[in-house]
Amino acid sequence: MTIPPQREPQERASATLRMNPDEFRQYAHIIEAEVGQIIVGQRDLIRQTVITLLAGGNALLEGVPGLAKTTLVRTLADVIDCSFSRIQFTPDLMPADIIGTTLISEDEQGRKVFRFEPGPIFTNLLLADEINRATPKTQSALLEAMQEHTVTVAKTVHRLRSPFFVLATQNPLEMEGTYPLPEAQLDRFFFKIIVTFPTTAELVEIANRTTSARTPQIRKVASGDIITQMQALARTVPIASHVLAYAARLITATHPESKESPAITKQYIRYGASPRGMQALILASKIMALLDGRYNVAFTDLKAAALPALRHRCVLNFEAQAEGMNPDEVVQGIIESVKTE
C-alpha cells in the first residue's frame, strides 16, 4: 500500500499561520491577473474558478466549445506552478484510463511483480473535458478522487497530490450520445460555472491577442504549497451565527417538502441542495470575504455564492422544464424570497 507523503495536521496549521489575509488577497489577485492575461474578459469565470481552487473543490464548466475552458485550466496550472492533465472523455473511455491500472512487470531481481501505473488523475489540476460523453461507469471513477482526493485500485488507496483540482466541462448543446451526470456526481462539484459568450469588445481583444505575433507570457506567481496555505486560511474566516443561519435557511428553502420553502421551490424543484451545498456556500463565501478585504462572511457573500453553488444541486421538476425555467431563475427566486433577518 503506497500513500503519497502528505503534511500532518500540525504542519497544515503552521502553514496557515504563515499566510495572512493580505497575502491571501494579493496572491489571489495576482493569480487572477495572470490568468486574465490569457483569458480575455470572463472575470466571473476566472473568479469562480479561483474560488473553487482555493476552496479545494472541483468545478463543472458548462459552455459551448471554443470559450477557452481548456486554456483557462492550462493557464491556471501554469500560474500556480502545478502539474496539469487533460482527459478527453469519450464513450469508450474506461475508468482505468483515468485512475491507472496495475501491471505485471519484472523487478531488478527479475521477479514478476504487480506495479501500479498511475493514470492522468495523479496531477494537481485535471481537466475532464466533455465529461458527459463518458459512460456513467467511467464518470463514477472520478467520484472518490473528487471527494476524498484518493484513488483505490486493487484494494490499495492512492492519495492524490495536493492541491487537487478537477475542472470538468460539458457542452450544453450537443446532448446526443451523452450521459448526463448523476446527482451524486454533480453534488461533488463545488461550483457549476456557466461560461458565457464574450462580448464584442472581448472578441476583438481575443482576436488581437491570438492572431498577432506577440504571445502573452505568464509568470508562475504561486505554488501548490501556497495554494494549500490559502486553502487553510480560507477556512478560518469567521462567520456570525445569524449569517450561518441564513445560509441554512437558503439550503432549506431549496427543498419543496420544507415548510419554510418559498412558493417557487414548491412549484419547480423536485430535489433540493444537500449539506454539501451548504458547505460549498459557506466556504465560497469565506473566500469571497477575504478577496473583498474583509475578515468575516456577509450576507452578500452568501448571495453571490449561492448561484454557482446551488444551480447544479437543485433538480428541477417536469413543470419547470415544461415552462422553460432554468435552475438559475429558480435559485435566484429563492435568494430573493429568503430574508436575511
Binding site: P21, I239, A240, R294, N296, A298, E341
Partner: protein
C-alpha cells in the same frame, strides 16, 4: 475585555439610543391613525349624544397613543448584538459589527478573529448617531391626518349637543337646589316634636331617598321628574282625605267648648285649649247641677254628631259622655270626657303628621316644577323672567287637586307669593307654579280668592298655545301621561320627549293674549255671540289683560 471591543461597545451605545428613537418615531407615524380615529370618533359621537367634557374625552385616545409610544420607547431595549446587526444592515457594513460582537462573546482569539474585531472597531469609529436618519411612514401619516382634520373641524363647528349639555347642567343645578330644599325640610321635620315617631321616620326616609336620587342624577330631567313623581305618589297615599274636614270639625268643637265656658271663641281656636276644656269639664262634672249637666250632655251630643263623619273616635267618646250624663253616671261621663281629651291629643298629632306630609308634597311639587322648567329657560332666553315669578299653569295634578278640593277648607299648604294666579276651580296646577317663598310657605288651595276667574297673569307667565305644525317650524310638543296610583292619571304639560328641545307650545302670556282678544272682538262684531252675552265676554277679556290683577 479587549480594547477593540470596548471601543466598539462605546460606539454602539449612542447608536442604540438613536435606533430606539428612530423605531419609536416610525411606529408613531404608523400608528397615529389609531389615536386620531379615536379622537374623531369621540367628537363624532358627541354630535349625536350629549357627552360631558367632550374635549377631554376626545383627547384620551391621543393621550393613550402617546403613552403607548412612550412605553414602547422605554421598553424597547436593544442589545449590543441587535444594535450591531441593525447598524450592519443600515450602513451596509457587511456584518462586520455583529460578527465582532459574537466573536468577542465566543472568546475567539485566532488571527482572523482579532483582525476582524479590530476592523469592526475601526469601522465603528466612523459611525455617529447623525448617520441614522429618522424615518416616518408618510403614507400612514397622511392617512392619520384625515381623521385629525375631521375632528378639528367637528370641534370648530357648533355642536347642537352643547345646548342639551347646558340644559343638563342646569337641570343638575336645579336638582341640587331641590335636594338642598328637601334636606332643609327633612331637618325641620326631624325637629318637629308634634309628629309621631313613625311618621317622622317614614318622612325622613322618603325625603332622604329622594335627595340621594336627585343628587346622583346626572342631569336627566325625565328621570328626576319620575323620581319626584314616585315620591309624590307615595306621599299622596299617606294623605288622609278627611284631614281638613277633621280639623275643621275639631276647631268647631273647640269654638263651641270655648263658648260653653263663656269666653269669646277665636277665629282659629287652639285644639290644646279644647282638650284642656274637656279635661276641665270632666273635673267639674261633680260641681254641676242637673240642668247644667243636661245642657252639657246636649252640647256634647251635638258635637259628637258634627264629628261623627270626620273623627268617629272622638265623636264616640263625646257621645258616650253625653249618654252617661243623661244616665246620671258622673264617673262614666268624666272618664269619657278624659277619653275625648286624649282623642283630641291623638288627633292633634295625626293632623301634624298630615301637615308635614302636605308640606313635603308641596316642596316636592315645587321642586318638580322647577326641574320641569330648568333647561328650557336657557334655550328660550327667558330665564331672567321666569326665575322669579315661576311658570304657572304648566302642570296639573288632577289627583292632588281632587283630594284637596273635597274639604273646601283651608289647610296649611299655601303660598306666600303675591304673583298673579290663575285659579281654575281647584286645580292644583294654578298654585304650584307661583313662586313659593321657601320652606315656611304653605299652600291653601281652597282659600277664598285663590280660585279666581283666571284674570291677572304676570307678564312672565307662559301659557299653552296649541301647536300648529303647518305654520311653524320647530320640535313637536309632547304631553306625557303617567298612570299614577289608584288609576289616577297625572299629566305633565310642558315636558318634551327630546331633552333640550324647544317647546313651541309654551309662549308668553302677553304674546298670546292679543290674538285671543282679537278673535273675541271679531266674534263679537260678526254676531256669533248673543247680544245679551256680549258684555260678559268683553268684561272677561278686560279682566284677562296682562297686568290686570284681581
Amino acid at each position: 475585555m479587549s480594547n477593540s471591543y470596548e471601543q466598539l461597545r462605546q460606539q454602539l451605545q449612542p447608536l442604540g439610543l438613536r435606533l430606539r428613537y428612530r423605531d419609536t418615531l416610525l411606529l408613531a407615524s404608523r400608528t397615529l391613525w389609531s389615536g386620531t380615529i379615536g379622537f374623531a370618533l369621540v367628537l363624532l359621537a358627541g354630535r349625536f349624544i350629549p357627552i360631558h367634557n367632550l374635549w377631554l374625552l376626545a383627547v384620551i385616545p391621543l393621550i393613550l397613543w402617546a403613552l403607548a409610544m412612550i412605553g414602547y420607547l422605554l421598553a424597547r431595549q436593544l442589545s449590543l448584538q441587535q444594535v450591531a446587526r441593525r447598524m450592519d444592515s443600515q450602513m451596509e457594513l457587511r456584518e462586520r459589527l455583529s460578527t465582532a460582537i459574537e466573536l468577542h462573546d465566543q472568546a475567539n482569539h485566532d488571527l482572523l478573529s482579532q483582525l476582524q474585531q479590530e476592523e469592526a472597531a475601526t469601522v465603528a469609529q466612523r459611525l455617529h448617531p447623525g448617520q441614522i436618519p429618522f424615518e416616518v411612514d408618510r403614507q400612514r401619516l397622511r392617512v392619520s391626518m384625515v381623521p385629525l382634520a375631521l375632528g378639528l373641524a367637528l370641534l370648530w363647528l357648533p355642536n347642537p349637543q352643547n345646548t342639551i349639555l347646558a340644559e343638563q347642567r342646569q337641570v343638575q343645578q336645579t336638582l341640587a337646589q331641590v335636594a338642598d330644599q328637601l334636606e332643609q325640610l327633612a331637618e325641620q321635620i326631624a325637629q318637629n316634636q308634634e309628629l309621631t315617631a313613625e311618621e317622622r321616620a317614614l318622612l325622613e326616609q322618603q325625603l332622604a331617598e329622594l335627595q340621594e336620587r336627585l343628587r346622583q342624577n346626572a342631569g336627566n330631567r325625565e328621570e328626576a321628574l319620575a323620581d319626584l313623581s314616585a315620591t309624590e305618589a307615595r306621599l299622596q297615599q299617606q294623605l288622609d282625605p278627611q284631614t281638613d274636614a277633621r280639623q275643621a270639625a275639631l276647631e268647631q268643637m273647640a269654638r263651641n267648648l270655648e263658648s260653653l265656658s263663656g269666653r269669646r271663641p277665636a277665629a282659629r281656636p287652639d285644639l290644646n285649649q279644647a282638650r284642656q276644656q274637656l279635661e276641665r269639664l270632666a273635673q267639674e262634672l261633680d260641681t254641676m247641677n242637673e240642668a247644667e249637666r243636661e245642657a252639657l250632655a246636649e252640647q256634647l251630643a251635638q258635637q259628637a254628631g258634627q264629628l261623627a263623619a270626620s273623627d268617629p273616635r272622638t265623636a264616640q267618646s263625646l257621645s258616650q259622655a253625653a249618654q252617661a250624663l243623661r244616665n246620671g253616671d258622673i264617673e262614666q261621663a268624666a272618664a269619657q270626657l278624659q277619653q275625648a281629651a286624649q282623642d283630641v291629643r291623638n288627633a292633634q298629632s295625626q293632623l301634624a303628621d298630615q301637615r308635614a306630609v302636605q308640606e313635603s308634597l308641596a316642596q316636592i311639587q315645587e321642586g318638580r316644577q322647577h326641574v320641569a322648567r330648568s333647561g328650557q329657560q336657557s334655550q328660550s332666553g327667558q330665564s331672567g323672567q321666569q326665575s322669579q315669578s315661576g311658570q304657572s299653569g304648566q302642570q296639573s295634578q288632577s289627583g292632588q287637586s281632587g283630594q284637596q278640593s273635597q274639604s273646601g277648607q283651608s289647610g296649611h299648604q299655601g303660598q306666600s307669593g303675591q304673583s298673579g294666579q290663575t285659579g281654575s276651580g281647584g286645580s292644583q296646577a294654578d298654585h304650584l307654579g307661583q313662586g313659593q317663598s321657601g320652606t315656611s310657605a304653605q299652600v291653601d288651595p281652597n282659600r277664598p280668592g285663590r280660585n279666581g276667574s283666571g284674570a291677572g297673569r304676570e307678564r312672565s307667565d307662559l301659557v299653552y298655545q296649541p301647536y300648529n305644525p303647518s305654520t311653524q317650524t320647530g320640535e313637536r310638543d309632547f304631553i306625557q301621561g303617567q298612570q299614577g296610583e289608584g288609576g289616577q292619571t297625572q299629566q305633565r304639560e310642558g315636558e318634551q320627549a327630546l331633552p333640550g328641545a324647544v317647546n313651541p307650545s309654551l309662549v308668553p302670556y302677553e304674546q298670546i293674549f292679543p290674538e285671543y282678544a282679537r278673535s273675541a272682538s271679531e266674534a263679537l262684531d260678526r254676531g256669533y255671540i248673543p247680544p245679551h252675552l256680549k258684555e260678559y265676554v268683553r268684561d272677561y277679556f278686560s279682566q284677562l289683560e296682562p297686568g290686570n290683577a284681581p
